[in-house]
Symmetry: C2
Subunit: 137 residues, 2 copies
DNA sequence: TAGTTGGGTTTTAATTAGAAACTTACTCGG
DNA sequence: CCGAGTAAGTTTCTAATTAAAACCCAACTA
């Protein structure tokens, strides 16, 4: 998640993440590999010899933006209690601090939890099933 | 997260989570304890003797709804590729499958990533700092 | 040629998860 | 009254996962 957050902030290279996050190098390498494998990031060779790649967000990755924004707002409100967290998101269009709300893509109305119905269309897959896609190797 | 998801689906008791998630009992106990400690869930004694609690979402917990919905939609689109995932969210108000979008709480407009500016209001705290609140004990 | 930089692996140590048994304090049925 | 059942955990021990630290290496660079 933090890797992806940085990616949205323009980070594309191993060393940049390493510096920003202070995470162990092997862990970062594993994260990147996994994110590439899951199609969230895409490696791009920016130097042939020595072979060096940068990592850019795919469409799948870019679609994580809503999650990040929502998560950030939650943290601001409930973890930092609207005090200095160090990072703030501004909505350029209206020039206010972004307070993200969930809207419906169909009717454009704001969505409240009460208006959402959970429908089970089949036997609910187990957590194991959900992770099964990993078992490629 | 899965614990919280179930909480939104009406689960309040230890055994219910245990059955739904199939997670080890000690792990579940640890999760619940941690969620209570972080103020996401609130224990409520529903029986004095024997002492038994149920767990209900706090305001902080309820505010996680947006994250869950956004996450779910992402999974539907990119992990299940809009095929049978087993669970679907319906927007009662307009009777369509919910496709959550991020809207701005101030101007009510849909938000696109480009319209969001990241502002660093202070030295960015390290990941360590962010977690420091845990060090109460 | 001796650093330095980018991008990793290998090794080792710590953390976490899991499975199963045990505990406590009841209730219920015979 | 006795044993079984239930709900909510705790304990113990083992297995798997994760992370930190150190190491590696190919290519620039001074």
């Amino acid at each position: 998640m933090l890797v992806i957050r940085d990616a949205f902030n323009g980070v594309t290279r191993f060393e940049q993440w390493q510096e920003h996050l202070g995470v162990a190098r092997n862990v970062l390498a594993a994260r990147l590999k996994s994110l590439v494998h899951h199609g969230v990031l895409e490696p791009r060779l920016y130097s042939e010899r020595p072979p060096r790649n940068e990592y850019v967000l795919t469409a799948k990755g870019k679609d994580l933006y809503g999650i990040l924004v929502t998560l950030h707002a939650w943290g601001e409100k409930h973890v930092y209690h609207d005090q200095q967290s160090g990072v703030v998101l501004r909505h350029k269009t209206c020039d206010n601090i972004l307070q993200p709300r969930i809207a419906c893509g169909c009717c454009n109305e704001m969505v409240r939890p009460r208006e959402v119905q959970v429908i089970y269309t089949a036997d609910r897959p187990t957590v194991g099933d959900m992770m099964a896609e990993d078992e490629v190797a």
